[in-house]
């Protein structure tokens, strides 16, 4: 078991290293620099700043400097937000994005699966068709259209919810962002569940269960739900990716200090360290999660270990 874990761990390191190198090269390849602006800096000041941030050193040297900082857990100072280090910014932004994403995912799964199953059970009815129509619009209408509409309705007209994150500290400020983020996923998941559930409900073992006298809800709960969920489970990967990218727009519109917003702003500002830091962070997270899953597989299924 230990050897299995170690092998997996060692395999993760080159992956991470490759990501860092590629990200570093790409970030520096973009034209323009972190301190360019319309109000140009006089040459000597530009030189002072370049020196202070080691931008005047050759690229390999900058890379090694970055790498050695990385090994000590220091992601460097933000080039743009001069009062903060990248560690600071990621430290405050990640919990926010995580909370937002996790709640959106939860909402999407709960509502999506329920709606999809209910639609499958009433296949062909008005209910079914309404649910499917809603999900179609949820998929087609982009986030940056839905979000302002929701804000207009619930925050401006009805004044039930705050229009922005910083307007209040109460929990109500998370409602609109979570709903906005979850909507497209609810749409996908409900369609997926419905199709899968219809397929499962047509199978022989379901007919057997019915023949045994079990009620519909019991059949669904005990026998149909789990196999029907398999496609949804495999969709979780892309779903999480979609929520991560969708969160950028949501964060921008609601003014939420999350990782997505910092990532985009960092890219536009050529804030090398911030962008690199977030890329490395995400990469490390994904590698870690994969590692955990691999190890869990090894624990659950002994056959895997022998390979």
């Amino acid at each position: 078991m230990l050897r299995y874990t170690l092998v997996r761990l060692l395999g993760a390191i080159p992956t991470l290293l490759l990501v860092i190198v590629l990200a570093f090269l790409m970030v520096h390849a973009a034209p323009g620099g972190p301190f360019d602006a319309e109000r140009a800096l006089p040459a000597d000041i530009e030189a002072n700043i370049a020196r202070a941030y080691h931008l005047d050193e050759p690229l390999p040297q900058q890379f090694l400097r970055y790498l050695s900082g990385l090994l000590q857990g220091d992601l460097g100072p933000s080039y743009r937000y001069r009062d903060y280090t990248v560690n600071d910014l990621i430290g405050t932004a990640f919990p926010v994005s995580l909370k937002l994403g996790a709640m959106a995912m939860l909402l999407a799964v709960m509502v999506g699966v329920s709606a999809g199953s209910a639609a499958a059970l009433r296949q062909g009815s008005y209910f079914d068709r309404t649910v499917m129509a809603f999900s179609m619009t949820g998929i087609s209408i982009p986030v940056f259209v839905v979000a302002p509409l929701l804000v207009l309705l619930f925050a401006v007209k009805l004044q039930w919810l705050p229009a922005g994150w910083s307007s209040t500290t109460s929990a109500s400020r998370i409602v609109l962002p979570v709903i906005t983020l979850a909507l497209p996923q609810i749409a996908y998941i409900s369609r997926l569940t419905r199709a899968s559930m219809i397929d499962v409900l047509g199978r022989d073992f379901i007919r057997t269960a019915r023949a045994q006298g079990l009620g519909t809800m019991t059949v669904v709960r005990l026998h149909a739900l789990r196999p029907a969920m398999l496609p949804v489970l495999s969709y979780m990967g892309p779903a999480i990716a979609a929520i991560l990218t969708g969160s950028v727009v949501v964060e921008e519109i609601f003014g939420i200090p999350g990782l997505g917003q910092f990532f985009v702003r960092g890219a536009l500002n050529r804030d090398y360290t911030l962008v690199l830091g977030i890329v490395v962070f995400y990469a490390a997270l994904i590698v870690l999660l994969n590692l955990v899953v691999d190890i869990l597989y090894g624990v659950i299924d002994p056959r895997v270990r022998r390979r």
Partner: protein, 534 residues
């Protein structure tokens, strides 16, 4: 079994998320909510750069000199000053009652310490050159001299002397800028670079930094030790970083903002109708222009061509119909309303557009272009719906009036800047300039051959010498003549095509009083008050 565990985990996650999100809203009393168009890079006076950073810094600090809400210079941390006859020595007498937020008195040495830090190459300040006229400033920035040699002297606790290389008539205006604000040396030595963190940062201004959530908002509260604290009405101010103007408008409509930083262009007309008493539009010190790349053909050595293209643009229609947000068409380089200055207008300012087009066609032919040799050029602009709209209008005007075929190229802002600086592929490009202080010099000095913000690479020895002579002139009236003549030369050369002058647009809630329109668009929170609400 596994599914049950998973479900339980998800449920726990949900509960945890909601619980951690829930904070009991504290009753903190009335807060002034202002919108900020961008996140400040830093609240360190020497590391800020954007106008948004300056906006916040103006509330949490104070310079020797300050402004009223109407834009008039008034004593700030200094209660009075004297200028020597040659104009090269300024003596400031500080207020004995001025205090930092921890109760320490504000001393002349604090200003001296601060200015030395500003020019110190290690600080890597963007505004190091701002007080470049101080003795030895340039040498220190270049690393040739120690910061201790800077032309500042704390004669005693409350007397500060500034020594200049040349008489700089707008010096007092410069001293209102946050880069000249003092920092507390004790705090700096104790905390090092983290002296700017909320909780550490001491303030000699009306407010103290309380909290900064990067990406979201900045909160400040009243500085009880401020010398003029009795006049400060509002207890707390929150700046909300809202990059998207449409989102900011929604917040205002929802009643969550008292002051917006801007109004989205597409909604301007609707907002004007819906909130007539709350929309504040006022001219500011900014010019939107198209620059020529003067180092390459076809615009190098071709003043007729440059003039023709400039004349063929109907600026009135552009400002009124295409833009339609209260901006003023620009027939000069320096905006109107600048102190002690009357902008020169372009020679064709009083003609009708028809007349201008006729003359332009003649000039185009003189330059050697016509139906058998059509002119094809590129207009570059940074990607934005608005800039595209302007470019499309200009493209159409040039085609209809002159038969010139212009291709539009849009680029990301940093890419455009890099291209303009490189001067290789650019021809006509969109640019803008916002003045740093209320004086014509801030607009004209950038067009000197040595100017680092000289985007068109304009190089005229006549212009350079006029600006130089103005800079050395103590007599304000003579100085003004030199500056106005310099502008005339710049416009006659048609180095640039000024299109319109910026206006500031804010939505100001009727709950706010004390708001004054001024050409610098400075609105100190300490001048405002909130009528009773909530």
């Amino acid at each position: 079994m596994r599914a049950k565990v998973l479900l339980l985990l998800l449920a726990a996650l949900a509960v945890a998320a909601v619980v951690t999100c829930w904070e009991v809203p504290r009753d903190e009393g009335p807060v002034l909510n202002r919108g900020l168009a961008a996140e400040p890079e830093s609240l360190d006076p020497h590391k800020g750069r954007s106008s948004q950073a300056a906006e916040v810094q103006r509330d949490i600090g104070e310079g020797l000199v300050s402004y009223t809400e109407q834009g008039e210079l008034v004593p700030g941390a200094a209660q009075r000053w004297e200028v020597s006859e040659e104009g090269t020595t300024y003596t400031f007498y500080l207020r004995p009652e001025a205090r930092w937020s921890n109760g320490d008195p504000v001393l002349a040495e604090h200003f001296a310490f601060s200015l030395r830090r500003l020019v110190n190459p290690e600080t890597a300040s963007f505004y190091a050159q701002f007080l470049g006229d101080l003795v030895n400033a340039t040498d220190i920035i270049e690393g040739k001299k120690s910061p201790q040699t800077l032309g500042v002297e704390a004669v005693d606790d409350l007397t500060l002397k500034l020594y200049l290389d040349r008489p700089t008539p707008y010096m007092l205006n410069l001293l209102t800028h946050p880069s000249t604000f003092p920092i507390h040396p004790g705090s700096f030595h104790e905390h090092g670079e983290s002296f700017v963190r909320p909780g550490n940062l001491l303030s000699n201004g009306a407010y103290v930094l309380e909290k900064w959530v990067p990406g979201s908002n900045i909160a400040v509260r009243r500085n009880d030790s401020y010398w003029n604290n009795a006049e400060t009405s509002i207890e707390r101010v929150a700046y909300h970083v809202l990059v998207d103007a449409a989102a900011e408008l929604n917040r205002y409509r929802a009643g969550e903002l008292h002051i917006t930083s801007d109004v989205p262009p597409d909604s301007f007309q609707a907002v004007k109708k819906q909130y007539p008493g709350e929309l504040q539009v006022s001219p500011t010190l900014g010019v939107y222009y198209y620059g020529y790349n003067l180092t390459k053909p076809p615009f190098r050595n071709s003043p007729e061509l440059r003039q023709a293209l400039s004349m063929a643009i109907d600026r009135d229609m552009l400002a009124e119909k295409i833009i339609g947000r209260g901006e003023k068409p620009a027939y000069s380089w320096v905006p109107p309303g600048v102190a002690n200055y009357e902008p020169t207008l372009m020679s064709f300012a009083s003609l009708t557009q028809e007349e201008r087009n006729t003359i332009a066609r003649g000039l185009l032919a003189e330059a050697g272009y016509g139906p058998d040799k059509p002119l094809e050029i590129e207009i570059r602009y940074n990607t934005s719906d608005f800039h595209r709209r302007v470019a499309v209008a200009v493209q159409a005007m040039w085609r209809d009036a002159l038969g010139v075929e212009a291709t539009l190229v849009n680029e990301e802002f940093q890419v455009l800047l890099a291209n303009v600086r490189a001067r290789e592929i650019t021809q006509v490009f969109r640019a803008s300039w916002v003045g740093d202080y209320n004086d014509a010099h801030t607009f004209l000095s950038i067009m000197q051959s040595s100017g680092s913000s000289n985007m068109p690479a304009y190089s005229s020895s006549e212009f350079d010498s006029l600006v130089e002579r103005a800079a050395n002139q103590t007599d304000l009236d003579r100085r003004r003549l030199f500056l106005e003549e310099a502008e005339r030369v710049l416009l006659a050369d048609h180095a640039v095509i000024p299109l319109y002058f910026y206006v500031s647009k804010h939505l100001v809630s009727p709950e706010v009083s004390g708001w004054g329109d001024n050409v610098l668009d400075y609105h100190y929170s300490q001048h405002l008050s909130l009528s009773a609400s909530e």
